[in-house]
């Protein structure tokens, strides 16, 4: 093998067939594209079967879906950047045959159908392996391909409490003595947390499979159950039950050992700073930053045990100091004194945050003008490689933009067959039926609590 010695994309010779929808696997596929893989997204012209991030998730530019609304969704764009798009109709045998032929020229398949669907399409791992003996395939489901719950559908918002995060997350409640005590009501990280755990797990497991295939020629089927994946990240909690019979820990923003530990209000609407003292040095640094070194000598706060006992009084003192500052000012003073502190950023603040900007985390993506999207920042990757080229390759693909490339070039399907496929809407560039989803105006969304607030002048703010 000749060695390159020049930075190149790590996965440049890998082709991925992405049959997945919604969040978890599409995002894994987007990351593979960022790493240089050619990722072919299987789309469809049948609007009711389209990836819901194309049709309903939004957000749309200025909350107004345009002429090409199915290309515009902001979440769809982030999750599918840099891919190619082939339209098919998976219900038809002909399309299923095309998938099998395509698997023969791909290295990796990503899919997230429930087990019965893939078997019905004849696209389960065993069937596909006949077309590609060293195939690596990630099947992502809620509960996996084995076990009594395997055919249950799932979505992240209902999965998250099921895989146990709510046992270790919740606001404290007021006890009979008026003091705060461990809460009874589970809460959630939200924001489709379970989906992203699955994205990262898919990437890790399929890289392991690619490394083995490169050395031994062996393929691998990866049965990724989001329920199971979510359980692994609270393993310490499970062991606390196994060894100590403890089932929950809901202590709000407090910490079982450290004190102070919490979030404190700052100037402005819904602005907060998180502060934690790991040890006595941090505690003194916090007192110093607040200009209140007298607290260090205060017997109520002498050590973390005392501070935890008097946490409500302590929180009031710290909260009074933070309330007179912006979250960034409080963070800066505390960090300068050497104490762990961080402003709780909104996405709006993250977009202009100095650290994110310095590392170039949000990558600007340009769409063709007719799609009707301005150039925008998309989420990047958390990994910087010193000697590999990575980065977002381009926008999400327009519906069916790679039909000709995949069908004619890769699979050698003749023009006559292509025309027939176009006639019955199997391939095309437009949705069959369906129309732009109606949007609730932003001022109504704010009243309903679906959004916290909105800036009509957001473009000017971002340009500043």
């Amino acid at each position: 093998m000749s060695l390159a010695h020049e930075p190149q994309a790590p996965l440049k010779n890998i082709r991925v067939l992405d049959l997945s929808r919604v969040f978890a696997m599409p995002f894994a596929g987007a990351n593979l594209a960022d790493l240089g893989a050619e990722v072919i997204k299987i789309d469809t012209c049948q609007t009711q079967f389209m990836d819901t991030t194309r049709t309903t998730t939004g957000p749309f530019p200025d909350n107004q879906p345009g002429e090409f609304w199915w290309e515009q969704g902001g979440t769809f764009q982030n999750l599918n950047r840099g891919k190619r798009s082939l339209t098919l109709d998976l219900r038809s045998e002909e399309s299923q045959g095309i998938i099998k032929d395509l698997v023969g020229v791909c290295d990796v398949v990503l899919e997230n159908f429930t087990p019965r669907v893939m078997a019905r399409f004849g696209l389960d791992y065993e069937s596909l392996r006949a077309h590609k003996p060293d195939l690596i395939m990630v099947s992502n489901t809620g509960y996996g391909h084995s076990g009594p719950w395997s055919n249950f559908g799932a979505m992240a918002s209902a999965l998250e409490p099921t895989h146990g995060t709510g046992a270790f997350m919740g606001y404290m409640s007021e006890g009979t003595d008026g003091r705060l005590t461990e809460g009874q009501v589970p809460n959630k990280m939200g924001n489709s947390y379970s989906d992203f755990l699955a994205s990262w797990t898919a990437l890790g497991s399929l890289m392991a499979a690619l490394l083995r295939r490169a050395r031994t020629g062996q393929g691998q089927w990866i049965d990724l159950a989001m329920y199971q994946t979510g359980t692994t990240v609270i393993g310490t909690g499970l062991l606390d039950y196994v060894f100590n019979d403890r089932r929950t820990l809901r202590i709000g923003n407090r910490h079982p050992v450290l004190s102070p530990h919490g979030v404190y209000p700052c100037q402005g609407h819904d602005q907060w700073v998180a502060i934690a003292a790991r040890d006595e040095n941090d505690w003194q640094a916090i007192c110093q930053a607040m200009g209140n070194l007298g607290l260090v000598a205060d017997a109520r706060f002498a050590d973390p045990i005392d501070r935890r006992q008097h946490q409500e009084e302590l929180d009031e003192i710290i909260g009074a100091w933070t309330s007179a500052r912006t979250s960034y000012q409080a963070m800066t003073s505390l960090q300068e004194a050497g104490a762990p502190a961080g402003a709780i950023l909104t996405a709006k603040q993250a977009l202009t945050d100095p650290q994110y900007l310095d590392r170039g985390f949000f990558e600007t993506v340009h769409n063709p003008p007719e799609v009707g999207l301005r150039s925008k920042g998309y989420v990047g990757r958390a990994w910087k490689f010193s000697n590999s080229e990575t980065g977002i390759k381009g926008p999400a693909p327009r519906l069916g933009e790679a039909n000709e490339y995949v069908l004619a070039e890769l699979l050698g399907i003749d023009q006559q067959s292509m025309e027939r496929l176009a006639e019955d809407w199997t391939i095309g560039n437009l949705p069959e039926g369906g129309r732009a989803p109606g949007q609730v105006p932003l001022d109504e969304q704010a009243v309903l609590g679906w959004i916290a607030e909105f800036d009509a002048d957001y473009l000017d703010r971002l340009a500043r």
Partner: protein
């Protein structure tokens, strides 16, 4: 025996706490040969983190340490001394990967920066995990999990909109960072196949979480909206609602009609057509919420969850650690692994995040005792004599 996907790769885990040990545990579970290198005397910081088995604060009983370090071997070594560095360089030259999570300034001081490591072994992949990465104005910030979560942009969305943002679960920032680092490390190993050289992988925990902003980010840069925490007043369906023996997560998502949901919950009034559409449920949200509370109070969590799954609905339920540790579904999937540790004894631990059909995962090594494999690695493998090892121990090197 762990899975065999990464057989033949040698990984040095210089990590402490959660992020780097979680990364190398994932690699170990895929079959890599992971050697954990700990500071003589004190060891990995997680040895001092609660909870402990039997609530006994003992360095071999930390549950975080026991969980995160299965399938690894453990040595003690202080690379800041001359003879320690010699020994360390021997280990380095045999390794494919080194993972650490020391603060950027500290790794430079200890000679563990990428340039120094690559000088010993140019084929080495070095993965550095830090709360904010190796560069930028926050790279030297003091951070804990809650601080990392705050600055990622994700914490703002956790919890209820009429309460402060809520901390995540059990140091989640560092688990997400470790999972990312495991993937990125292997990408660099894959690149090495064509590149012929190792490289440095710089992983920022805050960015790992920031990558989850695929909705909040476009909400702002597409339409100027700040997506908040979950609303207190919703469309009747709240994400967690009380059932008879705990909380459930009812859901209208999925392809089933409203009648299926109303029929499942089993309250006649829910069949009313006015609840059949999303708009109707918003318009009659308060009334719907009262009916749901009444209906769900007739159910225990598990029967409702099973009945929902059978009807192709996607309800969830709030489970605690005991529910999960005894989950029959995970049991059938062979998720749990039996681990026998010399100090805390045998127990069932959570296993791998994925099921790998065809792989034989028949036994799991317990987390190493501090310095447990010193003679095996330094003596048998690197050829140090018993006398030399005694000398190194007396000088505090191992």
């Amino acid at each position: 025996m762990p899975a065999g996907l990464l057989n033949g790769f040698r990984v040095l885990d210089l990590g402490s706490g959660i992020s780097a040990p979680w990364c190398t545990k994932i690699l170990a579970d895929y079959g890599a040969d992971v050697i954990k290198v700990e500071t003589p005397g004190s060891g990995d910081a997680s040895r001092r983190m609660g909870p402990f088995a039997g609530d006994d604060p003992h360095p071999e009983k930390s549950l975080t340490f026991l969980y995160l370090n299965t399938n690894k071997k453990g040595v003690t070594l202080d690379p800041s001394s001359v003879s320690g560095r010699k020994l360390f360089d021997r280990l380095l030259s045999e390794a494919d990967v080194l993972v650490h999570n020391s603060p950027p300034a500290e790794s430079k001081e200890l000679g563990l920066d990428y340039a120094s490591l690559a000088a010993v072994n140019p084929g080495l992949v070095v993965t550095s995990i830090a709360p904010f990465g190796q560069t930028g104005p926050y790279s030297d910030f003091q951070a804990t999990d809650i601080v990392t979560y705050a600055l990622s942009g994700l914490m703002y969305h956790s919890g209820d909109s009429d309460q402060p943002p809520l901390r995540n679960v059990l140091d989640q920032s560092f688990y997400v960072a470790g999972s990312n680092a495991a993937a990125a490390t292997q990408v660099a190993l894959f690149a090495r196949l064509t590149l012929g050289e190792g490289q440095h992988v710089d992983v920022s925990a805050a960015e790992c979480l920031g990558a989850h902003l695929v909705q909040p980010l476009p909400y702002y840069n597409y339409m100027g909206a700040v997506k908040g925490r979950r609303p207190v007043r919703g469309a009747g369906f709240e994400e967690l609602m009380p059932a008879r023996d705990g909380y459930v997560a009812p859901s209208v998502q999925g392809s089933q009609p409203w009648a299926t949901i109303a029929d499942l919950i089993g309250l006649e009034e829910l069949q009313d057509e006015k609840f059949a559409t999303g708009a109707g449920r918003v318009a009659h949200g308060e009334e719907l919420k009262d009916l749901l509370i009444k209906g769900l109070a007739q159910w225990d969590r598990m029967p409702l969850f099973l009945a929902s799954g059978e009807r192709r609905l996607v309800f969830g339920m709030a489970q605690d650690a005991g529910d999960l540790a005894e989950c029959p579904h995970l049991g059938v999937r062979d998720f749990f692994v039996d681990v026998d540790h010399p100090v805390v004894g045998p127990a069932r631990y959570p296993g791998m995040a994925v099921r790998l059909p065809g792989e034989d995962i028949s036994s799991t090594l317990p987390a190493p005792l501090l310095g447990q494999h010193n003679s095996e690695i330094f003596g048998q493998e690197l050829g140090y004599s018993a006398q030399e090892l005694i000398t190194l121990r007396q000088h505090g090197v191992i």
